[in-house]
Symmetry: C2
């Protein structure tokens, strides 16, 4: 494929199970993208460069085009470690510590994650910090306060100083717990075949979890009993499991960070809609942003700062300055 | 095998995954026992009689010997359904409703389970009611109040009236949750190879769960972060997971039933010891009973009441009258 001279940079989110690339021009406009299942978790250390170059050639990015990456590719088990920045973490510091990847002729950098190394609440993130960088650029001080980032491992982040700093965060085992219980516990008998949301069951489960978070394990077993005794169907059981876990997650965040009137919700899909619904039930309004848009904005901001000459300085410098 | 004329009855606990039989004499003394993996869950409806008769012949129980059973063998998917008795459930009623099994020349009965059919807290038990019957016979009114029965699905039971009645109970998804998270979540990477109890980690996790049950999902993910950031070993991670789940279970029971000064703990093994340790941390003393001893006592009490002539009336009538 012939190199496209309009490509100014390639932005890459390389997670444990997924690889996503966007070729962008000097204004950050997306000229091409690629998605693949070549996640970092299944990639041998020496294979990273070849996989990346393959996709860059397909996208038409010449050898001079720089690549800004985030995600687990920067973990110790990834391509090259980008050591965590510690909380309180200024997002400028994330950019300053963008790790140059050695051993390749191309300009490639990996943004570091953020860690809380305290003994009481140890925690780590990789890739969410890049979304937060994008959030700060797009939303500015509207994003100060609590940010909810649902997912396999939901992140709750406290941002301040005009959304330029992560002062604390906590990760909850949410989607992972849902999957483990759905696949490997007695609840799997009650859930199989569930389809569509039973809104009433979801709402009741959220309310119960927030009202009495101590009784989570009892409410989980009650999903099975309700199916046995009252013939609850799979959709009802799935909605109850979902509401129980999301409600517990919200209860934990409110206990940890206090209850805000509104918060920033990162996630535009089905899961994001469930969180928005659950948060509304407890009187918390949400400003919703799409995670992929934020990731691109964060990677693009970092690229513009690191390579101002190669990657059209003006709009990014203005937006980030 | 030649029939042993001293055998007065055979007592059977037939659960989802295990079958246990005890041949007893007129005094309830165990003359022989058998254990097998022929659980109800893997048994076709028509196979129950053959499996039972095979073990009875091996034990030397003649065709006139009656058999008292409990457990999932009495569920709808079992040999013959013994419909649940509803709470508040008198344990005498459990015996009165011992379901005769039809289609076999032998006297065989299955003790029913107990159900809470309320919409708010639906719940079921099968086999624990038989242990509770034995508990009432052995401990009498010492067992009034809260009873803790740890296991794959832990039961918390409120007994009253001299431990002759179950007025309420709740089941928690405990051991099942531990197994699901150990096998099918990100925590499996941190837990593998753990051996022995890290008492300090267990105690800290129990205290944290009881102090702030809302934050359970965050503390679960912190097990992973602690391994990554602080090099916590597998034994520490396993103890933290165990303490988190047991602590949450206890927090739920105290929220549901109130906090007693002491309670009855059914379970003499490793799991029972962990519960006793965790309960002690929150100032609750425990009277410990072995679950298998209680199951035999309950089955034996029921057999003595149902078949007074065949199964030495005197000691059992005295104990239960």
């Amino acid at each position: 494929m012939i190199a496209n001279p309009a490509i100014a940079a390639v932005l890459v989110d390389w997670g444990t199970s997924r690889l996503r690339l966007w070729a962008v021009d000097h204004d950050g406009t997306v000229l091409g993208e690629a998605r693949s299942g070549e996640g970092m978790g299944a990639t041998e250390p020496r294979a990273f460069e070849g996989i990346l170059e393959h996709h860059l050639v397909e996208l038409g990015a010449g050898p001079q085009v720089p690549v800004m990456m985030c995600g687990m590719v920067g973990s110790r088990q990834g391509w090259q470690e980008a050591p965590y920045v510690e909380v309180p973490a200024r997002l400028d510091t994330i950019i300053e510590r963008a790790q140059p990847v050695s051993g390749t002729p191309r300009h490639v950098r990996i943004l570091p994650g953020i860690a809380d190394r305290s003994l009481e609440t140890p925690d780590v993130m990789r890739s969410e910090e890049t979304q937060l960088l994008g959030l700060g650029r797009i939303a500015g001080d509207r994003a100060d306060g609590l940010v909810c980032m649902p997912g396999t491992h939901a992140k709750w982040v406290w941002m301040d100083d005009g959304a330029t700093q992560v002062s604390g965060f906590a990760t909850a085992l949410t989607g992972d717990l849902f999957a483990a219980l759905s696949g490997a516990s007695v609840l799997r008998h009650s859930l199989s075949g569930g389809d569509g949301l039973d809104g009433a069951a979801f709402d009741a489960a959220v309310r119960a979890a927030i009202a009495e978070p101590a009784q989570m394990l009892m409410r989980l077993f009650a999903i099975r009993s309700r199916a046995l005794l009252h013939g609850a169907d799979a959709a009802q059981a799935s909605a109850t499991l979902s509401g129980t876990i999301i409600g517990q997650d919200i209860a934990g965040a409110l206990a940890r960070f206090g209850k805000p009137e509104r918060l920033t919700l990162v996630g535009g899909g089905t899961l994001g809609a469930l969180y928005a619904r659950a948060l509304d039930l407890v009187g918390i309004a949400t400003d919703v942003f799409d995670g992929e848009v934020l990731a691109r904005a964060g990677l693009s901001t970092a690229a513009g700062r690191i390579w101002p000459d190669m990657f059209g300085a003006t709009p990014h410098a203005a937006a980030s300055g």
